[in-house]
Amino acid sequence: MTKEKSPKSGFTRRATLRMMTAGGAVGLLAPGLLGKPAFAQTAPAEPTGRVVVGLSQEPTVFNPLMPHIEVDDGVAFSIFDTLFRITPDGDVVPNLATEVPTVENGGLSEDGLNWRIKLRDDVTWHDGEKFTAEDVKFTLELITDPNFRAWRTAGHDLVRDIEVVSPTEITWRMEEPFAPYVSFLCETFILPEHILATAEDPNEAPFNRAPVGTGAFKWGSRQAGDNLILEANPDYHGDGPYIEQLVFKYIPDMTVLYTQFRSGEIDLVGQAYITPDNYEEAKTLDERVVTLEPRGTLESIYLNQALPVFQDKAVREALYLAIDRKSIIDLLYFGVPGEAETFMPETSAFHNPDLPEHEFDLEKAASLLDEAGWTPGAEGIREKDGVRLSFANSTTTGAHLREQAQQFIQQTYAQIGVEMTIENLPPAVMWGEFWGQSQFDSAMVGITYLIGADPDVTNRFHSNAIAAESGSGSNNAQYSNPEVDRLLEDGARTFDVEKRKEIYREIQAIIREDLPFLPLFRYTNVFGRKAGLEGFEANSNTRTESSHAALWYWG
């Protein structure tokens, strides 16, 4: 019911094309994060007004180091700060730090093992205490504290010997070089040592229900099940905030969410966004800005390679040919998402643009199956050597658009003698062992492949990453190709960007050929906001629309 939306956009490079639609606000400016942005001159001197963000899921986790979902990120970005921020263009810029560490500026040692971070000296916590390097040290140590229920530990578990050199300088050593760590730190919110260090159990500290941060907004009040109100922090060290109140309103029903956007009760449609069926109408609304924002997530049908039917490449090819993808995108999804052939986002430098394009051709699909020896048997279902061309497709219950796509594909498959049954499961069941241990036949799923802007996908496609066999990894399709294994290993060792491009383009070509999953489309969200809301910018390198509410203001 709740997991229809895309999981995580990752740190993918920002989509270059942002399709603006009618309704004003054409001059959307890219706010530079270092210098004073041009529009700041028109922003009010005093924070004024209120912005209500409508969300279809309720933010409930306010300790951002603990496991949480997208909507919680929006709150975290407003209350807390990170050492660095990632811009919509994919650049990393300093936030609590004064500069991004590089070998040139002495922040990084040549081997990438020793880090030195310089911090701002003008930052205070919402309770008035001064922010120092001790807070950073405490945060990094808390994440790897075995008693703390930390969210992501990858990268952090490589950090050793954290040393506070001065209140504004901290150093540490990495166990091994790990370039994506800068990107990871862009989502690692710094928590106050002076409050949490004395907490009996950081997992259940009162802090987690009324957090104190350094961010542009302070904790205000929360009406559970309905809304969360944050107040402007007048002492914020960065630009903004320009609004007095930031409200996250929980509206579980997508119709009501849209209705309230239309009526003006909410100013910005957040997570889960405007449903595609309302896109056409939303575009025509007065005083509303509606935009399409591509994400790094790919919707596809995973084919479990352990299944005998899917081991025949002709079957996988025929199944891809028999999907009327254009109709799914244009009609079921109202033309909102984009076509895609690969897991790599188009905006990534590693994207392979020369992949064969999908075509919908039932005759070709049928003849392909005929040639491969799959001949119609009982009830018109094809079979070969006693194996029926029949399989189940699963997704989460309550994902209406996916259910529609499933049934549509089911019908076209039936026309070429392929039986696809639909066996959907509640989210908690679907994403448990059923998915993790590859117990499905085929699954309709939206996946973000990249962590950071790094193209490494070993975790998704290497034959060592099949959890059902080795116990770890996310190669849920159980895809195994020695050539891809070799290329993935090469890619992880290679530092030369041009050479890496070659490697990853090759990988994409092989995977497009092998079809362990059938690509359906690239996720695209329909953002909507009131026309007067300025300073807003979508950032597909974060998981939330509210990644930089500090810059919002009413023009």
Binding site: W151, T153, P427, A428, V429
Partner: protein, 316 residues
Amino acid sequence: MAAFLFSRFLQSAVLLVIVSIIGFLVLYLMPGGPLSQYALDPGMTQEDIARITEQLGLNRPVHVQYLDWIWGLVQGDWGTSFRDGSPVTQVIARHVPATLLLMGSSTVIAVAIGTWIGIRGATHRYSGFDYIATVGAMIALSIPTFWFGLIGIYVFALRLDWLPAGNMYTIGDGSVLNYLHHLILPSIVLALVHIAIWSRFMRTATLDAISQDFVKTARAKGVSERRVVMKHVVGNALLPMITLAGVQVPSLLTGALVTETVFTWPGMGRLFLDSLGYSDYPVVMGLLMFSALLTIVANLIADITVALVDPRIRLA
């Protein structure tokens, strides 16, 4: 009386234990679990998920977890929500007011309208009004609450734009009027079934009372029909009314759950569905226990009141 109370108390305790065991087994033995929502998070590794599972103690045998949980429950510790880290009692407490507001206002509507229809139907027996009320009550009992809600939203919110389609109040406007505006549709929707039940009940009660001797006497004395009805009949029917109110608590809760879903009302029903969706077992169990407790207490109070007032009822 003490013996009666004691035996009822014992029964309730046994019942609660049974409910808790069934609920616990069902939830904890189902595949997947609270961490499956992170399965697609690219930054979370299998190791992270395994670590948190262990930290939450979810890898322990189910009977150990159950004993742990029920021992905490006995001591007043209902556990901690997986999702928001607050104690379950706090999580539930935060959602109780919204549900009480909805249940309360719809009960007022149901009792008021139901009583009026019931008495009028009984005093004008076999009239057109009585017939329509009878048939209407049966239809009202047959309409799915959520569908009635959807139709209400379609007509009054989407088409006529008179009433809001959901939520409890508008952000930035906490006035009583604003709350009332949001309350109208959901409380009427929730009240529908109960209007039917109350009106049928009041009709029977009034008919019973009218046929009794003292009412005939009063009428013979020349007291007006209206006064007789108001004074004796309603007074007499009060007792069974209390019982009925107690008995209706579960159905009100059920209705509230559905109504809250349709109207995005931030109450316990909404919380229950959300918690199910996130596999937040402690909260789901807490709500199961809370609703069972509420029902048992309501029934108990009704039973005791009746027993205290009516000596004819034998206490088992």
